[in-house]
Each structure stands twice: as structure tokens, then as C-alpha cells.
């Protein structure tokens, strides 16, 4: 597996920072970019908002 990876070079799924993806493309690395950011709030508040959205709060 490792030999194969070293021989063929990496294929990268880049999640989040666009600049990392741009750097990979500049080095002609095979890569796809997934545009993702973490939610703005976390924890209990995020859970409450998700339940509200689904209509399952209270």
C-alpha cells in the first residue's frame, strides 16, 4: 500500500482552506477541494437550533 502510494503519488481530498488546495494544484498534485467550514456555534446551542430546524424542539 505504502509502496503504491509512494510510486503513484498522493491523491488528496482537501477540506476547508482553499489556500491549501491552491498550493497542491501549483505542485501539480491530484486534488479535489471540498468547501467546508465549521458551524458558527457549537454544543448545546447548535443542538437546539438543529432540532428547531427539524421541527423536533420541545
Amino acid at each position: 500500500m505504502l509502496k503504491k502510494l509512494l510510486k503513484q503519488g498522493p491523491r488528496v481530498i482537501n477540506i476547508g482552506l482553499q489556500s491549501f488546495f491552491d498550493a497542491l494544484k501549483q505542485q501539480e498534485t491530484r486534488a479535489v477541494h471540498v468547501d467546508w467550514r465549521p458551524p458558527i456555534v457549537r454544543g448545546v446551542l447548535l443542538d437546539k437550533l438543529r432540532k428547531l430546524r427539524k421541527g423536533t424542539a420541545k
Binding site: 468547501d35 467546508w36 467550514r37 465549521p38 458551524p39 458558527i40 456555534v41 446551542l45 447548535l46 437546539k48 437550533l49 438543529r50 432540532k51 428547531l52 430546524r53 421541527g55 424542539a57 420541545k58
Partner: protein
Amino acid sequence: MIDIDSANMKALEGLFEAEPLLVGMGKAKDLIPGMEGKILLHSGPPIEYERMSGPLIGAVTGAALYEGWASSVEEARELLGSSGISFEPCHEHDAVGPMAGVISPNMPVFVIENKSSGNRAYATMNEGLGKVLRMGAFDDSVIAHLKWMEESLYPVLKSAISNRSNSGEPISLKNIIAQALHMGDELHNRNKAGTSLLFRALAATLVETCDSREKLSRVLKFMDSNDHFFLNLGMAAAKASLDPLGLIEGSSIVYIMARNGTDFGIKVAGLGNTWFTCPAAQPDVLLFPGFNKSDVNPDIGDSAIMETYGIGGFALAASPAIVQFVGGTPEDATRYTKEMYEICAAQNKSFTIPQLNFRGTPTGIDLLKVIETGITPILDTGAAHKDPGKGQVGAGIVRMPSEAFAAAAEAFADRYA
């Protein structure tokens, strides 16, 4: 239990049915609700004089001189720092203003009526680019230009607009916006098509109602020289269309975004009239010659109402030429628009983008989608010098800061969860 999706649908149906019409003009003190005494309206959420940024201080200084409340800059500053003048947001008075957004009692304003719900919104006439009051400039030339607008431009436009309105043919601003999007405007930093269409709509009536060929010539030359003339009208159209959303219980749609150069603030339909604020962002600016990045003031203006309405930065894909003014590439412009679909509840029924196979613009910023995706609204915007009196330094792109959305999300959960 609250049904957010149904509440949002109700909010957006109202927005899509809105029909903003240009119905008249008058002095701010005679038309804008609560415009009494020595009051100055400004852009963005509420702010006291001590916390105002340079361009807003410059604009309120100029407004005090324009009103004749002071005869020198020093006298104006003394008055502004005392309790003799009240400062209130345009948004709290059914009005909007670009950049510093200052409206004083004697400034003429357009009257925009939302035919579907009967509410009205107000905005001043656009002064042009560069050294202008809304960018914080206030020297003699700025005040003289404002006086010309009040004494010469306003009466001519008022006659023509009243004539159109009284004859049962008020100008539909929604129609102009929809057409301008197909002609390369995004209606925030590019208003060339919108201004041209307004010019066409008013031309015959201006000729019929103006008694002086010389006056008319100056008015037409000014409108022709100011590609941003339509901006203020578009903003008031957006304001008149969005304000009724403030009464929709349970809706997570953002119906106001505004900045005062110090703070950024939003209002959410299901949370009524409460501001949620945080420090304003720093725009990424394509600078005019002679300025550098350290000159740029934090984000300022009520013009974020355009993105809240589903145009401006949200319709950048319709306006590849705008990147020459705000920076980036046409591919960036398309990417920004596509990203905004991620945080909006709908595609606009009236405003479409030819470059995206006539897809409706992303419309109705959903607070919960902003929170979940971590994507905040993107705007293209003018940029003012951070010091009072200097004016515009460029234009660029700015992403709204997340903290105001986080604060609104907490209040939304407290109220409905």
C-alpha cells in the same frame, strides 16, 4: 412548536410579492417619521458620537454645516459632542443611506412605496463618487454640491416624479432592477444600467415638467455623469420590500444587515426589531491611486440591504465587469454567487442571472443556514478613508463577521427552542 420553514416561506412570499414604486420626493423633515428637531440619521446600528468612525464623524460634521447649525468645523464638532443633536439609525426611521448614510432634516429624499403592503421607505439622492458627504468629506465643495442638489436638482426631479405618480404611472423600481441585472449590473457597486433605465423612464416627463432648458441640461448632465445615481433608489426599494418581514413570527430570515463603520448589525424576522451587533469587518479593497491599505475604514453603510434583498454581492455572477472596480476575476464573481445559495432560503422569482441560465438570485438569508454552514454573507462595497474629510479610497469585497449571527442564533434559540 414553531414551523420555521413555513414561517420562512410566508416571509419570502411577502418579499416576492413586494412592488416598490417611486411615488414622490420631499424634505426629510416633512416626510420621514420621527425626523424632528436637531436629529441626524446615520447608517448601521445605533452608535453614540464618541464611538463613531472617521467617515461618519466627517459626514455628521458636514451635515451640521449644511443645516447651518454651525459655521465652522470646530463649532460643528463642539455641537456634535454635546447633547444638542440626536443620532439615530436610518433603519429606525424607514430610511436607508449608503456609506455614512447621513440624512439631515433639510435633505431632499425619494419616497418609495411598497404597493403590496402600503409601507414606505426613504433615501437621499446620490451625490456621485469621490469627495462626497457619504464618504466622510465635508469641505466647502461638498456642502456647495449638496446645496445645488437641494436647490436645483431636487425641484426638477420632484416635478417629474410627482407627474408620473399623479398620472397613475409611478416608476417600478423592481422592473428596473430586474432589467439591470440582465444588463451587467449587480446593483450595489455597478448601477450603470439601473441609472440608464431610470434616465429613460424619466426623460420625457422631465422635458414636459421642467420650465428651464438650462436647469434641465444640468440635471441630465449630472445624472449622466453619476453611474451610481440609481443606488439610493435601489436601496430604498429593498428597504420597502424587506421591512414587512419584521413582523413574521418564527422566521429565521435576516431582513436587515447594516454597518456604521464601527459595528455591524443584523435583524431577524422572527426576532422583530432587535439589533444583533459585533465589530464591523475590514474590506479587501482595490484601492484608488495614492491610497494604501492602512487608509481603509472598517465596513460602513446601509447598502448591505442590497445583499439582504438578493442582489449586490449575491448577484455578482450577473456582473462580470464589476471585478474591474472591486477586484478579483469573473470566475470569483460566479463563485461568490454560487456560495450564497448555500445560506439562502430561496431563489428569487423576479431577479435572474443570465450567466447561470437565468437562475433566480440567492434570496432570503437564513440565519440557521449561516450558523450550520459557517458561511457568512459576502458583499461588494465602497470603501471610505478612515480619517474624516478624505472621502472614498476604493471598492472591494467584504465578508460579514459571524459574531452578530451567533448572537442572533442564541436569541432565536432562547425564544423558540
